[in-house]
Symmetry: C2
């Protein structure tokens, strides 16, 4: 499948560290698919508010659990959603060249409150399956009352940008290399642990396969 | 040490899920100390922009590497900085009760560009030591030119709020418990890996103790 490149607009253009920017929509999708918590930026009375929230996606939209920010989100409110995975510390010879290996996606647009019950249910399915594949078929799905009590936002994935940094520090061929100090990357890895049963659960309740199989696997 | 409680203001008041809010400044400090990447929200031409960046702190200020956002940060520009650690998925009996175990801190204020060279050096020391304790003494420190080329922001820690969720799902005593499905928490843990030497490094260069000792230790 060939994907359209990410747009080069005033909002998405990389002003700094251009080498780290990507215009590949597959990179955007990979970063979004690797995580399930984003940081949603909205304006509240003229001030920025940055709230963590869960998300899912389809090919066109990011779906966000929006209760926290919902009081600030009417029609046409500009938002910025950022998803960041930290992959390691870049430890250079000089403090100035220190940095972070990371993958980050930023999406700009106007978040829309999903009101159509069918679209809302489908959005919640995406969101649930995004965080825990297999869970939509396993857990009890939202009833009409719960659906009405849930605020779901949709944000077009059209205007997005990606930044990725990988690899060693960049002062290996400069004068600081003469210092003879160690330089490199200290990697950071996130791993799913062993499922912890709710103490209220009957002892014999088996952990379903779609949850059990994640133990020990890498996240993000 | 007794810390002042976090302030109860229009910005910090928890409007939702009040039980998850904390007014304990020690919780704020613990969340900040557990991580080194935050999400900085600023206004750019009336739109929110959320950028990941590294930080450190002292008792009164958060210090942020601010190059990405610097073109938008003059005097008195409101910002919101959020630090989030994701601890696990809360898998309930019903989709509606699903959630995330997390620790999140949000700081509101006006970011100030640090211009005094001495304060800037001290801020960079905090930032460097925050991400990699011991590194300020090991790496070459910034010279005057590098210091001038670095944008450091300071943000008062005064107006901040904290949210923490821990523990099992909350539908263990409701009608959905009768469904007999597994419910609990799938924990997520981040761990520092083995240091990866810069390929440009001479083979015999030893990994310093302050970096080597982090391997296998937990992050956040």
């Amino acid at each position: 499948m060939t994907l359209d490149p990410l747009p080069d607009t005033d909002l998405t253009r990389h002003r700094r560290l251009r080498a780290q920017g990507s215009l590949d929509r597959a990179d955007l999708n990979a970063i979004l698919d690797a995580g399930f918590v984003c940081h949603l930026g909205v304006l509240v009375e003229g001030r920025p508010l940055v709230v963590p929230t869960v998300y899912g996606r389809d090919e066109r939209y990011l779906y966000l659990h929006g209760s926290v920010a919902s009081r600030s989100l009417g029609g046409g409110t500009p938002v910025c959603v950022t998803v960041t995975h930290v992959d390691g510390l870049v430890l250079a010879r000089s403090v100035f060249e220190h940095g972070v290996n990371y993958r980050s996606a930023m999406i700009h647009g106007e978040a829309r409150k999903v009101t159509d019950p069918e679209e809302k249910l489908e959005g919640l399915r995406r969101l649930t399956e995004h965080a825990t594949p297999g869970q939509w078929s396993y857990a009890r799905r939202p009833n009409r009352k719960e659906l009405a009590a849930t605020t779901l936002l949709a944000l077009s994935l059209e205007e997005a940008s990606v930044k990725i940094r990988t690899g060693p520090p960049e002062d290996g061929d400069g004068p600081d290399a003469e210092l003879g100090r160690w330089a490199g990357v200290l990697p950071l890895t996130s791993v799913w642990g062993a499922p912890v049963a709710d103490p209220a659960l009957a002892a014999e309740t088996p952990v379903p396969e779609h949850i059990a199989r994640r133990e020990g696997t890498r996240y993000a």
